[in-house]
Structure formats: structure tokens, C-alpha cells
């Protein structure tokens, strides 16, 4: 029986049993003897200086071991570069407990360490702090005048700044048959994974550290700890096999890691620091952004001019940027363009990549503006997209490596029943409710970076593959096991994928929808090298039937190497290992993007979202009753986990459009809804029929797997599709997200 390919199969998650039985251990779940508990104290002012912290009173509490502040912290690394992690934007990274300066509301200012969690929490809650307060600015809208160009740095490479103006935008816009101009306002959002950020630092007998951390990058955290605390990397082991959601929040080492490690080193004890839900609002967020679009088209619907400007928040110490305004011209090849992206530094913490950073922000403005254009031209919104369809990326003057977006439109519209839509706003009803249909396009770049993978053939003839990458719930473990199994023609149960440990071969942070392509390519590279090695060693075995046989003449399956010309001839992997008189046969290889091939193409995943809303005008309630997202993302390795990724993205889209925002009170410079009762995300009752279509898309350019990432593409098209559906239902255009019932009344 020949090997049936496992890639492409809807395999259930390999770690499923651990997750449904409670056996899966997350960063705060490790039982460590003599563990101490740390609780962080945060600043209650927004800007100024700490004059005095009364640590004596709380040190007297029975069970309190130590209180760390800027006054008694150990001496640490000096240079900004030593604090810069893999995802650090240009600027000076925040240093916890550096000095008495307060830069933002909620800044960590002390760590109380105690024998029990309750004592640490109690002591932290009664600590008296005296501050000198200074004037601060936290409101983007009223500080828009301070907008300036972002500083450039390493991050600019992955997040290019807007293209220069093209053609004569002013004239083209002014003279066009149809013009739309609109402002879009987005509030701050916080990632809020359900798992609280936690670090358990185990102080080993030899002074080495074993660190269980909630992160999207084990090596990122290992390097950070080594650099900041002056430790040798090999003495710092970061382990994160289970991560309870992250959505970007774990791309940078967060302050609980710093606190936990600092306390462990100082006290020579194991220390756990877990943040509380309020503290989950104190270390990075999607930045508030204000956008202005000016789109124009000729009378036939051809888009002629695209203008898109964004002003976004950043902190005073780092220039965090996103790709917000670069997308429209990738989709719609207008000859006249004008794009701008500026930052306003405010007295807040640095923003941080949050699922589909920039993309979901920009696409809301772009696809809502396209909808407006469609109404002005009296062209169906879907037809308008098709009129402007292109397989060529004019922004980079090169074709797409593959682009089956047209199929997304066609199949999505068909399944959704788009043709039943009557174009007039307020023309569709169900009972006393208004019904609206809306659609929008999504795009997200398909990236690949470097990763290394080790592949080991064991004495039992089983394959072990390892990488330092995490699995934040995306399905990495399952998908990598599938890819590895196919490389050697093995069954799933004969393959183990080891991951989530900094001591394993190099992996980047898990983000940007590039994990499958990046680590998957490395798995394939290691698989190829291992096949070659095994065949060579098999040929060298005494009396081998595979002597001088090339790889073309054999297949790898049934746990061995089989001669194609005589399928009865098989040399088992375990016999090859045994003949070597070694315990295992192994290889370590790097997955490298084929830059020469890639540079001639733009690589991107695409989607089309179709949404039905029901609006009760009397109550102002809005429900997304039905949504379909059709996705073109190359080769789908696991349709089951991939579907879940898209569904998750769609729920995030519903959340962004209708639920979540972090509300600030700018008189205090403070977030006001720092808990899950007031930071609204959809509950089960808010989510109705969702469906996903993966259209077939072949791509032999993007990478060896032909795969494009799917972590973000399910999200980007949803908010504009929902806003457009609400317009269709009500005749009212809302450009401020989230859209709340009070806006409707």
C-alpha cells in the first residue's frame, strides 16, 4: 500500500486529548517546590516621577519576602540594543524598574514577592506610593497636529512605509466622474487572550534558569533574558509548549518575564509572576488610528485615483508602525495615488502587533470607500471589484505569484446568495427587522523568513523533528507533523514534532501568518536531507539491494526505502540506523526563502467576505446572522485547523466591527474598561452562521509547500463587509468602529 499524503487531510489536533482533559500545562501551571509568588504594582498616574514608595510597611507583613522597586533592583544592561527583542520597533525599548520616571498609566513600578499568591496580592494592593505628576497627552484626535513621519529601523524592512505619490492625484481626483471622501476612526484594542500573562522561573540548583513563559517566541525571550541580565544563553532555557492564545501580545517579552527572572536571580528561588486581567491592559495594544480616504472612479467604475492617509498613535519611546495605507493600490490598479502614514507620540505604552496589524485597519477604510463608490456609480459592489480586478501588482511592478481572488468572489457570492440582494438601502426586511447584505475584499502578504529544523531517525525507525517554534493554538504541532510524515512516507503516529523550547533549532517569533511557510519549509529541507542520508547509508549496508541506487529509483514509505522497480525490496529505517551502530541518524537544516525566484512576484493571500446583518431599528441591535469567507491561500495543509483559523478571524472581525474597544478617559490618561465585563468580545449568543470556503489555488513560486499563511486573512475583510451590510440595511454609513447601537438610534 502506498503512502497516502497526510498534508491536505483534516487531521484532528494531535494535542487534543491534553487540551480536553486539563493535562496541557501553560506557563502558570507548573508545579514547582518552594515556589514564591510575585505580584506587580502599577502606576496610578500617567506621567511624572515616583517620589517615594513605602516598602517597609508591607515588608513587615508575615509571608512577604521582598519588594523590588527601581531603588533596589539589580544593576542591568546599559544599552537599548540589549533590551531590543526580535519585534522591537525603532526607538528605546521600555525598561521595567529603570528609574523613578513614569511614562504611562499602568507602568509596572514594583514587584512584591511573597510565600503565597494571596499575600503578594494583598501586600501589592496596600502599597503606598507618592508621585510628582506632570502634564500628559494621551488623546490622538486632539493631538493630530503633532503627527510626524515614523523613524526608520529594522522593522521598516518587514513593514514598508507608503509608496511615493504617483501620477497627478489632485487633478485626477478632482476631475473624476465619481468621488468619495471619508474619515475612519478606530479606538485602541487589547489582545486579551484568555490566558493571563505568566512566567514561572525555576531557579535550578546550579543557578541555571528554566523559564516557563507565555510567549510567541521562545528564542526571542531567551535572548532578551540573556542580554538584559548578563547571563549566558545556554543557562537560560525558555519553554512554552502550550500558549493560551496570544494574537500578537506574545511577540515581545512582556514585563512579567523580566520581573519573574529578576526576582529568581536575586532571591535564588523559583518565582512565578502572573498578571491580572487589569494588567493585561498595560503592555501593548492595537493603536488608535484616524484615516482619511479619497477614492475616485470614471463613469464605467474604473478606479482612477486612490488617496489614503493614516495618523496613528505611538509611545514617546518607540515608533511602532503598521502597514495601513499600502493595500488599496495592490488590489485596484489606479494610475494616480497619494498615500501617507504618520505617527503621533503620546504618553502611552508602545502599541503592539495585534492580529492582522494595519491590514484590518486599512481594509476597513478601503473597502468601505469602495462600497460608497459603488453606490455613487450605481454599480453592484461585487461588480465594481471585478471591473477593477488585476493579476498584476502595480505597486511593485510585478505579477502575483498566484491570485484566485476572482474565484473567492464567484464561489462566495454563489454560496451566500448575493444575487438575491436588492441594491437599494433599506429594501430588504425580515419581519420587523431590516436586513442588509455587504461584502468586502481581504488581502494579506504571504511571507517566509528563516528557520532551522532538526530531523532524527530513531533506532525504532521513527521520525523526530524539532524546532523552537511555539503553537499558540494555530495548529502548528499538527500541521508540522503532517508535513514531516509525508517527507518520509510515515504514519502520523510514527512522527513526533518537538517544539516550544529555546534550546531547539532556531525559529523566529510566531506571527505575521508566516509560521507554516517558514517552519514548514525547514521541515521539508530537513526531510530531504534525511532521505538523502538514509539512502546513502542504506546503499552502504553489506549486500544492500540499494547500492548505487539514486533517489529517483526509490520511494520512502512503510517505514523504509522501497525500490520502485521491485516493490518487494525494502530496507527498513530501523535497520539502516542499526547498521550504523549509532543510536540515531540526524540532520539539521535551514528553510530559506528562494529570494531570486520571489523577487519577481508579489505573494499574498486573498479573501472575499459576504455578510448578512439584521438590524432592529427600534432597539438599535445589530446581529451578523450569516457570514461566508472565501479564501485563496495556496495549498491548505490541514483543512480542519485552517477552517478554524478562518472562523476565528471572522469572529475577530465581528468583534472589531461591533464589540471591542479600549476606552480612554483622557482627563486621567487611563483606560477605563480594563476587564472582560466591560471590554466586550462576542459571546456564544452573538455568533451565528459562519462558513468558510477555500478556493483551489496552485502556487509553485511562494515556497516549496505552495502555502500562504491564514492567521490574519480571515479577519481583514469582515469589518468592512459588516459596515457595508449595515449601510445596506439602514442607509446609514458608520465609519467609526465599533458600531454601537446608540449610533443607530
Amino acid at each position: 500500500m502506498s503512502h497516502k499524503l497526510l498534508t491536505g487531510q483534516p487531521v484532528s489536533r494531535i494535542e487534543g486529548q491534553q487540551k480536553v482533559t486539563g493535562a496541557a500545562r501553560y506557563a502558570g501551571d507548573y508545579h514547582v517546590p518552594e515556589l514564591l509568588y510575585g505580584y506587580v504594582v502599577n502606576s496610578t498616574i500617567t506621567k511624572g516621577k515616583i517620589l517615594e514608595i513605602d516598602t517597609e510597611q508591607i515588608k513587615a507583613i508575615k509571608g512577604v519576602i521582598e519588594v523590588f522597586t527601581h531603588k533596589n533592583r539589580p544593576s542591568l544592561a546599559w544599552f537599548d540594543l540589549q533590551y531590543a527583542d526580535m519585534d522591537a520597533p525603532p526607538g528605546s525599548p521600555f525598561r521595567p524598574l529603570q528609574n523613578a520616571d513614569i511614562k504611562y498609566n499602568g507602568q509596572p513600578i514594583a514587584l512584591v514577592v511573597a510565600e503565597t499568591f494571596e499575600i503578594a496580592r494583598y501586600a501589592a494592593s496596600i502599597m503606598a506610593v507618592r508621585y510628582e505628576e506632570q502634564h500628559f497627552f494621551t488623546d490622538l484626535e486632539s493631538n493630530k497636529g503633532k503627527a510626524r513621519d515614523p523613524k526608520k529601523g529594522l522593522a521598516t524592512f518587514l513593514k514598508p512605509l507608503p509608496a511615493k505619490p504617483k501620477g497627478d492625484f489632485g487633478k485626477a481626483f478632482h476631475n473624476a466622474a465619481a468621488q468619495v471622501s471619508a474619515e475612519f476612526i478606530h479606538a485602541a484594542e487589547h489582545h486579551n487572550p484568555i490566558e493571563l500573562f505568566a512566567t514561572t522561573t525555576v531557579y535550578e540548583e546550579d543557578g541555571k534558569l528554566t523559564i516557563y513563559d507565555k510567549t510567541q517566541g521562545t528564542i526571542n525571550c531567551q535572548l532578551y533574558v540573556g542580554n538584559v541580565f548578563g547571563l549566558h544563553y545556554k543557562n537560560v532555557r525558555v519553554i512554552s509548549p502550550y500558549v493560551g492564545g496570544a494574537f500578537g501580545s506574545g511577540l515581545r517579552p512582556q514585563y512579567q518575564l523580566f520581573m519573574s527572572v529578576m526576582a529568581a536571580l536575586q532571591l535564588k528561588r523559583s518565582v512565578r509572576v502572573t498578571l491580572d486581567r487589569q494588567q493585561m491592559f498595560t503592555f501593548g495594544h492595537r493603536p488608535p488610528t484616524i484615516q482619511q480616504t479619497r477614492f475616485a472612479a470614471d463613469s464605467q467604475g474604473k478606479v482612477t485615483a486612490l488617496g489614503h492617509e493614516a495618523v496613528a498613535e505611538t509611545s514617546q519611546h518607540e515608533d511602532y508602525t503598521e502597514v495601513v495605507v499600502n493595500w488599496s493600490n495592490m488590489l485596484y490598479p489606479a494610475p494616480h495615488t497619494s498615500f501617507d502614514y504618520k505617527l503621533v507620540p503620546l504618553d502611552v505604552f508602545s502599541p503592539l502587533d495585534m492580529r492582522a496589524p494595519g491590514g484590518v485597519t486599512g481594509m476597513h477604510a478601503i473597502e468601505s470607500s469602495m462600497d460608497q463608490l459603488a453606490y455613487q456609480l450605481k454599480i453592484d459592489p461585487l461588480a465594481l471589484r471585478l471591473i477593477n480586478y488585476t493579476d498584476f501588482d502595480v505597486t511593485a511592478d510585478r505579477p502575483y505569484s498566484s491570485k484566485e481572488l476572482r474565484e473567492c468572489y464567484v464561489q462566495g457570492a454563489e454560496k451566500f446568495g448575493w444575487s438575491k440582494r436588492t441594491p437599494e438601502p433599506r429594501s430588504m426586511r425580515r419581519g420587523h427587522k431590516l436586513v442588509g447584505y455587504g461584502m468586502a475584499t481581504g488581502i494579506w502578504e504571504a511571507m517566509q523568513v528563516l528557520a532551522r529544523v532538526e530531523a532524527v531517525m530513531t533506532a525504532e525507525g521513527k521520525l523526530e523533528v524539532s524546532s523552537a517554534i511555539t503553537d499558540i493554538g494555530t495548529g502548528t504541532l499538527t500541521v508540522m507533523t503532517q508535513i514531516a510524515a509525508d517527507e518520509l512516507g510515515l504514519a502520523l503516529e510514527d512522527v513526533t514534532f518537538c517544539y516550544g523550547e529555546s534550546q531547539m533549532p532556531f525559529a523566529p517569533v510566531q506571527g505575521g501568518s508566516f509560521t507554516v511557510s517558514t517552519v514548514g519549509a525547514a521541515v521539508k529541507a530537513a526531510g530531504k536531507a534525511l532521505r538523502k542520508k538514509l539512502l546513502k547509508k542504506a546503499g552502504n549496508m553489506p549486500g544492500s539491494p540499494l547500492k548505487s541506487v539514486s533517489e529517483k529509483e526509490v520511494v520512502f514509505e512503510r517505514g523504509g526505502i522501497i525500490l520502485k522497480s521491485n516493490q518487494n525490496v525494502i530496507v527498513y529505517f530501523k535497520d539502516i540506523v542499526a547498521a550504523e551502530k549509532k543510536k540515531v541518524i540526524k540532520t539539521t537544516n535551514t528553510g530559506v526563502p528562494n529570494v531570486f525566484k520571489l523577487k519577481n512576484y508579489t505573494r499574498a493571500a486573498h479573501s472575499a467576505a459576504f455578510v448578512e446583518v439584521e438590524v432592529d431599528e427600534e432597539l438599535g441591535t445589530i446581529q451578523v446572522t450569516r457570514a461566508i469567507t472565501a479564501v485563496a491561500a495556496g495549498n491548505i495543509i490541514n483543512p480542519k485547523t485552517a477552517r478554524s483559523q478562518i472562523l476565528g478571524g471572522m469572529v475577530w472581525g465581528i468583534s472589531k466591527a461591533l464589540f471591542e474597544e479600549t476606552i480612554s478617559d483622557h482627563r486621567f490618561g487611563k483606560y477605563m474598561n480594563q476587564n472582560l465585563a466591560e471590554y466586550h468580545i462576542p459571546v456564544h449568543a452573538d455568533i451565528h452562521e459562519l462558513d468558510v470556503i477555500f478556493v483551489e489555488e496552485k502556487d509553485d513560486i511562494v515556497n516549496e509547500l505552495g502555502s500562504k499563511g491564514i492567521g490574519e486573512i480571515g479577519l481583514v475583510a469582515m469589518p468592512p463587509a459588516i459596515a457595508n451590510a449595515i449601510y445596506h440595511a439602514t442607509g446609514k454609513r458608520f465609519n467609526q468602529l465599533p458600531i454601537h447601537f446608540d449610533q443607530l438610534l
Binding site: 489536533r13 482533559t21 502558570g28 494571596e118 493554538g473 478554524s644 471572522m650 449568543a685
Partner: protein
């Protein structure tokens, strides 16, 4: 301008602990806990049953849901000392002799989780909800499961898994 965030004078009596006995997953267990220790923290830190998760510690997310005498409760809003002698079932006690509960199987089959962090609470809550007998339709199941948040957006798969088990029982 000077501002002060003050606390109160420490109360030194808060830390006195006492021995309580619980029946956890069918096994008698003893814990030495102070009165301010939540059932959630007692399970996690004192009994090493970390399958029950802390997502908010304020009764807002449902990740800490356990069954207490067969009813679903939020263990973060329950002090351990209040449950002296109670029968507690956590996610570690749902499978019997390594045979998964139908809901656990349905969660795996329907891919009703991604990161898995809210999953123990979802499963315990669903078991409690089904035994309450109030939910007759998918809409009612969704409503009665709405105390359990899922940030990965596995909502439709979670409800699919629960409906599959509910319908199989009818």
C-alpha cells in the same frame, strides 16, 4: 502636583490558614488554606489540579468553571473554605478510566478549541448546562453557554460539539 495612592494598614490576621477537606474527582483531599484562598487557587496551587484555568479571577470569563455537587460554578468567585465537604469535579475528573467523555471526544472531533485555555471551563460548563435541562434549542444552548468566553473564536465549533452530544442523548 503630588498624588498619593495609598493603601490601608496591613491586617496581619488574614494569613491564618485552616485545614479543609474536599472530595475532588472522587478522591478525598485535604488542603491547608487561608480563608481568602479561592477554590480556583486551592485547586491550582494547593492540589496541583491546574486543568482549571484562571482567565480573569472576577467571574467574567468562565475559564475556571468546575462542577460542585453536580452544578457548574465559577471557582474564582468561591472561597475554598465555603466548600468544606463538597463534591468537586474538575476537568481532570471528566474522563473515566482514561475513556473520554462524549463531550471531550466531540470537542476534539469538531475542533472546538484552538489554544485550549478556555476549553476546561467550556466542557465543565457544558456538562453542567446539559444536566440543568433548560436548553432545548441551539439558540438556548448558545445563550446558556455565553458565560464562557473563547477568544480564539471557536464559538461555532464549540456549539456544534455540544449540540452533537445533546442530540445523541435525545
Amino acid at each position: 502636583m503630588q498624588t498619593v495612592s495609598t493603601g490601608l494598614k496591613p491586617d496581619v490576621h488574614l494569613t491564618n490558614s485552616r485545614i479543609i477537606s474536599l472530595h475532588v474527582n472522587g478522591v478525598p483531599r485535604i488542603a491547608d488554606v487561608a480563608p481568602w484562598v479561592s477554590l480556583l487557587d486551592a485547586l491550582r496551587d494547593h492540589l496541583d489540579l491546574t486543568g482549571t484555568k484562571k482567565g480573569c479571577d472576577h467571574g467574567q470569563c468562565g475559564a475556571c468553571t468546575v462542577l460542585c455537587d453536580g452544578k457548574r460554578i465559577l471557582s474564582c468567585l468561591t472561597l475554598a473554605v465555603m466548600k468544606e465537604g463538597a463534591e468537586i469535579t474538575t476537568i481532570e475528573g471528566i474522563a473515566q478510566d482514561d475513556v473520554l467523555h462524549p463531550l471531550q471526544k466531540a470537542f476534539i472531533e469538531n475542533d472546538a478549541f484552538q489554544c485550549g485555555y478556555c476549553t476546561p471551563g467550556q466542557i465543565c460548563s457544558a456538562i453542567g448546562m446539559l444536566s440543568e435541562g433548560k436548553a432545548n434549542s441551539r439558540a438556548e444552548v448558545k445563550e446558556l453557554m455565553s458565560g464562557n468566553l473563547c477568544r480564539c473564536g471557536a464559538n461555532t465549533n464549540i456549539i456544534d460539539a455540544i449540540m452533537e452530544v445533546k442530540n445523541a442523548r435525545l
